[in-house]
C-alpha cells in the first residue's frame, strides 16, 4: 500500500473529506427533488414537507461548507508535513508538484472556498426573508458547487494515491528560484513595477470601496490577488526568510517562520473573498454591504501591513535591503 496513505494526517484528511462528500451527496439528491417540486405559492402538505426538508438540507450544506473551509488550512498543513516522507521535498511546494493532480486540486479548492462563501451569504439572505426568495438560485449554485466538489474529491483521491515516495521531487528553490535570468513574473513585470502595482492596487481598493465604486473595487481586488501572490513569493517572502534567493509560497507555513504563511495567505484570501462577496451582494442583490466591505478592508490592510512590516523590520535590524 502507498506509504502516503498510512500517514496520520492523510488518513484524517481523506476520512473527513469522504464523510463530508457523503453528506453532500445526500444533500444533492434532496436538492434535485426540491428543485423539481418547489412551489412556494402552493398551499399543500407536499410544499410544507419540502420547506422543512429544504431547511434540513441547507443546514447540512451550511455545516459541510463551514467544515470544508477549516479543512483547507488542514490540507495545506498535511501536504507540508508530507515533505518529510518524499525525497527532495523541503516543503509543500515539492509535495504539491509530486504529481500532475496537485496544482489543479489546489486551484479547485480555492474556487470551492470562494463559491461556498458566496453560497453561505446567499443562504443567510434567504433565511432572513420569510418567503424563501432565493431557494432556486442557491440550489442551482449548490449543484454547481457540488460538481466542483466531486471533481475535488476525485482529485483528492488521485493526488494522494499517486504520490511516490521513491521518486525524488523538486524543492522550492528549483520550482520558484532563479532560472538563469529568466523572468518568472507575469506580464513582463519586474520587482519595482510589481511593488508599485501592489501598493497602487491596495490604495485603489481602499478608495474605490470608500467611494462605493463596486465594479472597480472588485476588478482591483481580483488584480490585487494575482499581484499580491507574486509580490509575496518573489519579494516579501525573501524578507520573511531573510534570504534573497529563497522564493517559495509554502516554506513560510512552517514553524521556522512562526507559521506566518497561514496569517499572510489567510488574510489575503479572506480579504479578497469579502471584497467579492460585498460586490455580489451589492450589485446583484442590492443589499447593503458596508459590514462586508469593512471586514474586507480590515483583512487586506492587515495583509499589506504584515508584508511591509517584514521589509521594514529587516531594514531597521540590518540597515540594508535584500
Amino acid at each position: 500500500m502507498n506509504e502516503i496513505l498510512l500517514n496520520n494526517g492523510v488518513i484524517v484528511y481523506l476520512l473527513s473529506e469522504s464523510v463530508l462528500y457523503l453528506l453532500l451527496l445526500v444533500a444533492c439528491f434532496a436538492t434535485v427533488g426540491l428543485l423539481r417540486r418547489w412551489n412556494f405559492d402552493a398551499f399543500t402538505s407536499e410544499q410544507f414537507t419540502l420547506e422543512n426538508r429544504s431547511y434540513l438540507v441547507m443546514t447540512i450544506i451550511f455545516f459541510v461548507m463551514m467544515l470544508k473551509m477549516l479543512l483547507l488550512p488542514y490540507f495545506i498543513y498535511t501536504i507540508d508535513s508530507l515533505s518529510d516522507l518524499i525525497p527532495g521535498a523541503m516543503c509543500g511546494a515539492g509535495v504539491i508538484k509530486a504529481n500532475r493532480y496537485g496544482n489543479p486540486l489546489l486551484v479547485v479548492k480555492i474556487a470551492v472556498l470562494f463559491l461556498s462563501g458566496i453560497w453561505l451569504s446567499l443562504n443567510t439572505l434567504d433565511l432572513k426573508a420569510r418567503n424563501y426568495p432565493y431557494v432556486r438560485l442557491k440550489s442551482w449554485l449548490f449543484l454547481f458547487i457540488f460538481l466542483l466538489l466531486s471533481m475535488e474529491f476525485a482529485l483528492d483521491l488521485l493526488y494522494f494515491t499517486h504520490i511516490e515516495t521513491t521518486n525524488p521531487v523538486s524543492c522550492c528553490s528549483v520550482i520558484f528560484g532563479q532560472n538563469g535570468g529568466l523572468n518568472s513574473l507575469p506580464l513582463g513585470l519586474d520587482i519595482p513595477k510589481l511593488l508599485l502595482l501592489f501598493y497602487l492596487l491596495f490604495v485603489l481598493i481602499l478608495l474605490s470601496t470608500l467611494a462605493d465604486f463596486v465594479l472597480l473595487s472588485l476588478f482591483a481586488g481580483i488584480l490585487f490577488l494575482v499581484v499580491a501572490y507574486y509580490a509575496v513569493v518573489y519579494f516579501f517572502g525573501t524578507y520573511i526568510y531573510e534570504l534573497p534567493t529563497h522564493k517559495c509560497p509554502f516554506c513560510m507555513l512552517q514553524d521556522h517562520y512562526f507559521y506566518v504563511g497561514y496569517f499572510l495567505w489567510g488574510s489575503l484570501l479572506l480579504g479578497s473573498f469579502y471584497l467579492l462577496d460585498s460586490a455580489v451582494m451589492q450589485y446583484f442583490f442590492k443589499r447593503p454591504s458596508g459590514r462586508l466591505k469593512r471586514i474586507a478592508l480590515l483583512f487586506l490592510t492587515f495583509f499589506v501591513l504584515l508584508c511591509s512590516a517584514y521589509v521594514g523590520v529587516y531594514y531597521l535590524k540590518n540597515g540594508v535591503w535584500l
Binding site: 538563469g180 502595482l197 497602487l200
Partner: protein
C-alpha cells in the same frame, strides 16, 4: 469637494495601474529565448547574457560552446551546450533549416554533423561534449554524441566520468 478629490485620485491611480501594465507589456522581458523572423537563415551573433538556453534556461554567457538552431519559419533558438540541443530535440520537432555550433579550435560556425566532439571538456552544463572542427583521439561524431547523450553516458554519470577521466590520465 471631498468627493471630487476622491474621484480624481481614483482616476489617477487607475491611469497609473494601466500605464504600469502597458509599460510592462512593451518590455523585452520574457522574449530572450527566440530570435524571430530570421528568414534568411543567417547565424545570429549574440552578446554574452543576451539570450537564454532554450533547454536549461541558463543565460548564455560562454559563447565558445554555443549552438544555434534556425527553424524554417525563421525562429532561431540558442543553446549554451550541445548536450542541451540533443535534450531539447527530444521534446521539440521544429522544421530545421540549420543546426550550427561554434568550434573551440577554429572559432568558426559549422553544422553540428561536421563537428567532432570531445567527451571530457568543461562545458556550461557539464555534459563534457565540446565541438571541434578537427578530429582528435577520443573524439566522437555528432550521431555518437547524440546517442551517448540520450543514454545518459556523459560526465553527469559518475561511472562514465571516472572511466573517461582515468583514460585521459593514462
Amino acid at each position: 469637494m471631498k468627493k471630487i478629490v476622491l474621484n480624481v485620485t481614483i482616476f489617477a491611480i487607475v491611469i497609473g495601474v494601466i500605464l504600469i501594465l502597458l509599460v510592462s507589456f512593451g518590455s523585452d522581458e520574457g522574449s530572450k529565448y527566440v530570435y524571430k523572423n530570421n528568414r534568411e537563415h543567417k547565424i545570429i551573433e549574440i552578446k554574452p547574457g543576451e539570450y537564454q538556453c532554450s533547454e536549461c534556461n541558463m543565460d548564455i554567457g560562454d559563447l565558445d560552446n554555443i549552438a544555434e538552431l534556425i527553424a524554417e519559419n525563421g525562429n532561431t533558438y540558442f543553446f549554451d551546450d550541445i548536450g542541451c540541443v540533443v535534450l531539447w530535440l527530444k521534446t521539440h520537432t521544429p522544421k530545421i533549416a540549420k543546426l550550427m555550433t561554434r568550434t573551440l579550435d577554429t572559432h568558426q560556425w559549422i553544422t553540428v554533423e561536421k563537428a567532432w566532439y570531445s567527451r571530457t571538456a568543461r562545458t556550461p552544463m557539464g555534459y563534457g561534449f565540446a565541438p571541434y572542427a578537427v578530429k582528435q583521439k577520443g573524439f566522437v561524431s555528432y550521431e555518437e554524441m547524440k546517442m551517448l547523450m540520450l543514454q545518459g553516458k556523459n560526465l553527469h554519470d559518475p561511472f562514465v566520468k571516472k572511466q573517461l577521466l582515468s583514460q585521459e590520465v593514462r
